[in-house]
Amino acid sequence: MTALLEKHLPGWNRPPEIAADDEGELLEVSMGPHHPSTHGVFRMDVALDGEIVVKLKPVFGYLHRNHEKIGESSSYLGMMPYTDRLDYFCSLTNNWAYALTVEKLAGIAVPERAEYLRVILGELTRIQNHVSSVGFLMQEMGCSGTPLMYAFREREKILDLFERLTGARMMCNYMRFGGCRVDATTVWLKDAQTVVAGLPGFVDELEALLSSNEILMARSQGVGVIKPELAVNAGLSGPMLRCTGVNYDVRKVDHYGIYDRFKFGVPLGAHGDVYDRYMVRVLEVRESIRILEQALHDIPDGPIVDAKAKSRGIRPKVGEAYGRIEAPKGELGFYLISDGTGTPYRYRVRPPSLINLTILEDMCLGHNVADVILAFGSVDIILGEVDR
């Protein structure tokens, strides 16, 4: 099909060139803040030359609530439920990053079963985030409803698991310093295995529908291209970075938790365009399924909270720590400074969504307005985390 298109429509997947046109005026358009494709309240100030974008400035802050200031007036444990609200699609990985940083700061160990539970929940979170982000991308491409609902059907099964274990579908508030809040029953683990066993079939179905879809390829190949050097320099992380072919996954680099025990690959793209980002996400779902199968098989019995750890009223010694994990959106980091009291002196979130948007203008320049929506959608952001 690609060869056929190339024959009849040469250059069909290449970005249009900006014609040097001294006549006419630029049109300034404010895209957002209320627009279905902005995933929340987000605005882009776009200057257009005809249909072509010549300037794009993102405008943030509509959802700003100074999360970090709240962190500096709340106890360590008191911030745990707030971290759910950062990236509200992936509350469990937010919990994990925060718990990991406090554990680093205070030197708390985590028992083995809790580490396994964290991996299981973290990977389930990654799967539901990636499949729904693929669904949203299709929605923005114009295939209204169907792929998104297919993705949400699968996501709902995972959220049901979350609800049974933690009591909430999205605001899970599950991790604690030195472990997890409640233990998983054998029935839950068995049901998780059933859900995971059904996932490869779903990914096959999704791929059969989409991966070689002509319209998807025509709309996304060659659109929103990022060069690997720029991606590294601009601090991109997660699928945004790996779609350019840079092999960097915090799970492989930092070996946090127990990730060195599992066999899994890191999918890489080659072109850095929207299609590669879609493909990297789909392949990451497959790798996550592999991790889940291993983790659900190996999970040992034992305590879920370290005997010496205490969550309530924790007062880490004076010092600071930067901890980071591979969240579905990218590298999620927390930076804490303790002055010896029960409240952090400085509480900082390194939001992958915000930093991944650094190159939004570079991706969109020279493209049509319709492609801006795609390039932006493929970044996969959540405004709760961008604006904090």
Binding site: G61, E68, K69, K104, N233, Y322, E331, I359
Partner: protein, 208 residues
């Protein structure tokens, strides 16, 4: 990764006249940091990014910390006699950088830069030309802490709105009274509300 002392020695031999200071981190992770003087910061950053053995190509995190003025009382000798009746140690704003190397897979290296004080000398050099990921994060530090980054291509407020005056992440920031939110003010707030209403009344009359 090389130790912080080795990295300090490498920078000192490569960048002439640079002043570095190691800040030890007593927490269990022991992520020690280097304080860089602002005059040589861009040279140091470029060296760290490009040096063959270091290659810190990935600026992961950039953030600000506000250290308030501190009242210091010195006591010494028997019975902790007060030598110093208490002098004010000036505070400063600090910008913290967490660097990683994607090429070599090591990190983090923590850099810090300090302003002279918290009031009028708050300018630091921007590292956006070295690491593009600093662009939005420096804007955020400018917005919330009030550090001015010299050489930033587009230094505007990012999270607060443009007309906003203060810097909310500073430790001594006080939220303004919101009398609409509190329709029946009392005590201290009532006093301020009365003043506020009198002022508002005067302004309306002046406008008419």
């Amino acid at each position: 990764m090389k130790t912080i002392e080795e990295i300090k020695a490498m920078i000192e031999s490569a960048v002439v006249g640079v002043q570095l200071e190691i800040v030890l981190n007593p927490s269990p992770v022991a992520q020690h940091s280097l304080v860089v003087d602002p005059a040589h910061a861009v040279a140091v950053a470029t060296y760290l990014r490009d040096a063959e053995e270091l290659q810190f190509d990935f600026l992961s995190n950039l953030t600000g910390v506000d250290w308030l003025d501190k009242k210091v009382e010195e006591t010494a000798g028997e019975g902790n006699k007060r030598v110093d009746p208490g002098h004010l140690e000036p505070g400063h704003l600090e910008v913290v950088y967490h660097l990683y190397s994607m090429a070599l897979g090591h990190g983090p290296l923590v850099l810090r830069m300090r302003t002279v004080n918290r009031a009028d000398q708050v300018t630091l050099p921007s590292l956006t030309p070295v690491w593009r990921s600093a662009e939005f994060q420096e804007r955020e530090v400018f917005d919330l802490f009030g550090v001015v980054f010299d050489g930033h291509p587009d230094l505007r407020r990012i999270l607060m709105w443009d007309e906003f005056k203060d810097h909310p992440m500073r430790r001594d920031y006080v939220e303004p009274d919101d009398f609409e939110y509190e329709p029946t003010p009392h005590d201290e707030v009532l006093k301020r509300a009365t003043e506020h209403r009198a002022e508002a009344q005067k302004e309306t009359e002046a406008a008419q």
